[in-house]
């Protein structure tokens, strides 16, 4: 079903991993840091206590990458960008609780950290934003972050919000039919929860006790539409009961809370107990996308307030308070992230646009319509 996606640019991400190793911490490295040199690691078991320092490092990298892409957009170099800033703990914490290269990740456009966690390199990701050859998800046919990477279990077919929710449920149905103990996690926003597809999919998954985690990154806005215009209730998780599955509200800025909630949901899913709905309360620090201007509809104080629970800061505080991180190390991590991102930017920008010779290809399999 899957074709090879061609060479990946690995340099930057490899370096991230190496830097992490070199920077030397007391804790052992988590087993699932990934290198793209080797084939995707299959069936790697999440542990009970993930390596927080490693997760911090990855969060720093993600934030740096995110900021860079935003900047590239402002410079007119990168196309539209939906920032993950404020969502990182939800994304990293949940991936960490799952089996990379085995479980399936139905993501949406804001899941930059999920892409990084699953194995895409910063170079590959930036290539998406500058639409360059070697973009691994769609060959730059689609918007950044869209397409698929079957080896990594990444599926992000379209921009049409919520359509991927029934698709993810179908992936879980397939796993169940084949007798695999694969979990499918479906990421979506609060906005997506209003769509009919979300309802139909949750209902279907609950009926068949499918191994699904519905992971709602509730940042309280669908573009400019605040929660109060999206629903008459306070929580998306409150819908779960009406489908017959557990609904879990979790602080999406607290990476360990997210990790634990996801870990438990994955256990339920894998052991045949069916789907769960996790609502991770996250924050959106930037406008909806780089095309948006949130000053029209969002009071700046609200964003200031939200920044008090910046997931990056929260994790840093935790690491400092447990003496797992000090300033020197922090500087090093930041510096490394910047360097990785710099190199990735250069590599991506210097890459050519994709060739046009397969413009008509892949419409259908054999006999094009």
């Amino acid at each position: 079903m899957a074709e090879q996606t061609g060479n990946h640019e690995n340099g930057a991400f490899e370096r991230a991993v190496r830097t992490a190793a070199e920077s030397g911490t007391d804790k052992p490295m988590v087993s699932n840091t990934k290198s793209n040199k080797q084939a995707p690691v299959v069936d790697e078991k999440p542990t009970d206590s993930p390596d927080l320092l490693s997760m911090y490092r990855r969060m720093v990298l993600c934030r740096a990458l995110d900021e860079r892409i935003w900047m590239l957009n402002r410079q007119g170099k990168a196309a539209i960008m939906a920032s993950s800033q404020g969502h990182e703990a939800g994304q990293i914490g949940s991936v960490e609780a799952l089996k990379k290269g085995y479980d399936q990740f139905y993501i949406y456009y804001r899941d930059l950290a999920v892409l990084l966690e699953l194995g895409l390199t910063p170079t590959e990701i930036i290539k998406g934003f500058v639409a360059k050859e070697g973009e691994p998800l769609s060959g730059a046919r689609q918007f950044p972050t869209h397409g698929a990477h079957p080896e990594y279990g990444i599926i992000n077919l379209s921009n049409v919000v919520a359509t991927h929710i029934p698709q993810g449920v179908g992936a879980a149905l397939s796993a169940k039919m084949k007798g695999e103990d694969r979990v499918v996690i479906i990421y979506f926003g609060d906005g997506a929860s209003s769509a009919g597809d979300c309802h139909e999919a949750m209902n279907f998954a609950a009926i068949h006790k499918l191994p699904v985690i519905f992971f709602c990154e509730n940042n309280k806005y669908a573009i400019s539409v605040p929660l109060k215009n999206q629903m008459a209730v306070d929580s998306v998780a409150s819908r779960a009961e009406g489908y017959g599955m557990p609904g879990i509200e979790v602080d999406g800025c607290d990476i360990t809370a997210v990790y634990e909630a996801t870990f438990e949901a994955a256990q339920r899913a894998r052991s045949g107990q069916g789907p769960s709905l996790i609502e991770a309360q996250v924050e959106r620090y930037l406008p909806h996308t780089s095309d948006d201007d949130d000053s029209i509809y969002r009071p700046p104080e609200e964003i200031e307030e939200a920044k008090k629970r910046d997931p990056l800061q929260m994790l840093k505080d935790l690491l400092y308070s447990s003496d797992t991180l000090d300033e020197e190390q922090e500087d090093l991590i930041n510096k490394d992230a910047r360097q990785i991102v710099n190199e990735a930017t250069e590599e991506a920008e210097n890459a050519p646009y994709p060739a046009t010779n397969d413009f008509y290809k892949h419409v259908v399999g054999d006999n094009p319509a």
């Binding site: 077919l157 179908g170 149905l173 397939s174 139909e200």
Partner: protein
């Protein structure tokens, strides 16, 4: 060879494919214990069990979407929409998503799924059990759309659809289900998607059609034989991709083409066939490419005299053929 109905052909094709390939399964409303409202899956639950015969909730978008998801992960779902008239909620997942899976992932994913639906009218089904829905899908790159007319074609093409690696919309005209009988080989066979079939050879006028209308067209061809008009009848069988070669060949042969379909005229399949002929066989035309199609009202009304006004029959077709022949 055994004489079968279209319904039996559809039933057998699915049954045989499910026996042949464990990744094939069926899902849809009432397809389990009920065996489908038209009994196309009769006995499936008993033979294949409820894991492979899934009675779904009344939720067409998810029927399509869940099937699509399963198809991208190694299964070959056959999703049934109970009536074509209820297929609209699937457009988002089929036209918006399934059709673009391969293109949008640069071929990394594909979706070997079949979406089946009984459609069309002439069964006293009124506005909401009579609609023709092929044009919506036939407009969409990435999809294949099959509209069989005979048991032989239905079985061979449905098997091909199930084995095809892309999304296929398989539209069975519900009036043909029990009405049309024909010989079907007892052994396994498939028919190529995208190949039209000359159902009657002739030299004066060509009728291009598909689905139920094929039978009325053949009848009309017999009728006008008495007027010394020798009609060729081309059954498109697949409305996307269209068999352009076959369309042009018969056009060049007779120089006069009438396209007949039950669906509304404007932007229907006939419009495309007409445009293709204009573009590619203009010099061979001895008369205007003509269309006889459903009137521009929304599907057919319920009361018998109203429904009869909608439906195209052999008489209407014969008249159009005579007109064209005289041109």
């Amino acid at each position: 060879m055994t004489i079968k109905t279209v319904l039996e052909a559809v039933h057998d094709a699915m049954q045989e494919e499910m026996r042949r390939d464990k990744t094939v399964f069926v899902m849809g409303e009432d397809i389990g214990a009920r065996g489908g409202v038209f009994l196309a899956t009769q006995g499936f639950l008993q033979e294949f069990g409820e894991d492979r015969v899934i009675d779904t909730p009344l939720a067409e978008s998810s029927i399509a979407g869940v099937a699509l998801g399963a198809a991208m992960h190694g299964m070959r779902p056959i999703a049934e929409i109970e009536f074509g008239d209820f297929i609209w909620p699937t457009i988002n997942q089929i036209v918006g998503e399934a059709a673009k899976v391969r293109y949008g992932t640069q071929g990394k994913l594909n979706a070997p799924m079949v979406l089946r639906a009984p459609h069309g009218g002439g069964v006293r089904g009124a506005l909401y059990h009579s609609q023709s829905v092929e044009a919506f899908f036939a407009h969409t790159p990435g999809l294949k759309v099959i509209t069989p007319s005979t048991p032989y074609d239905a079985k061979g093409l449905l098997k091909s659809a199930i084995r095809d690696d892309d999304p296929v919309i398989f539209l069975e005209h519900k009036r043909t289900y029990r009405l049309v009988r024909g010989e079907v080989p007892d052994s396994d066979y498939t028919l190529p998607i995208g190949k039209a079939d000359i159902k009657r050879e002739g030299s004066d006028v060509t009728i291009i059609t598909y689905g139920l209308m094929l039978h009325h067209c053949l009848e009309a061809a017999e009728t006008v034989e008495m007027d010394d008009i020798d009609v060729e009848v081309l059954d498109l069988r697949t409305v996307r991709p269209l068999d352009i070669d076959a369309i042009l060949e018969t056009t060049k042969k007779t120089g006069k083409v009438l396209i007949v379909h039950e669906d509304n005229k404007a932007l229907g399949v006939g419009a495309e066939v007409s445009a293709i002929i204009s573009e590619n066989a203009f010099e061979y035309l001895d008369g205007p490419v003509s269309r006889l199609a459903g009137p521009e009202i929304p599907a057919m009304p319920f009361a018998p005299p109203l429904e009869d006004m909608y439906m195209i029959d052999s008489e209407k077709i014969a008249n159009s053929v005579r007109q064209l022949a005289e041109y």
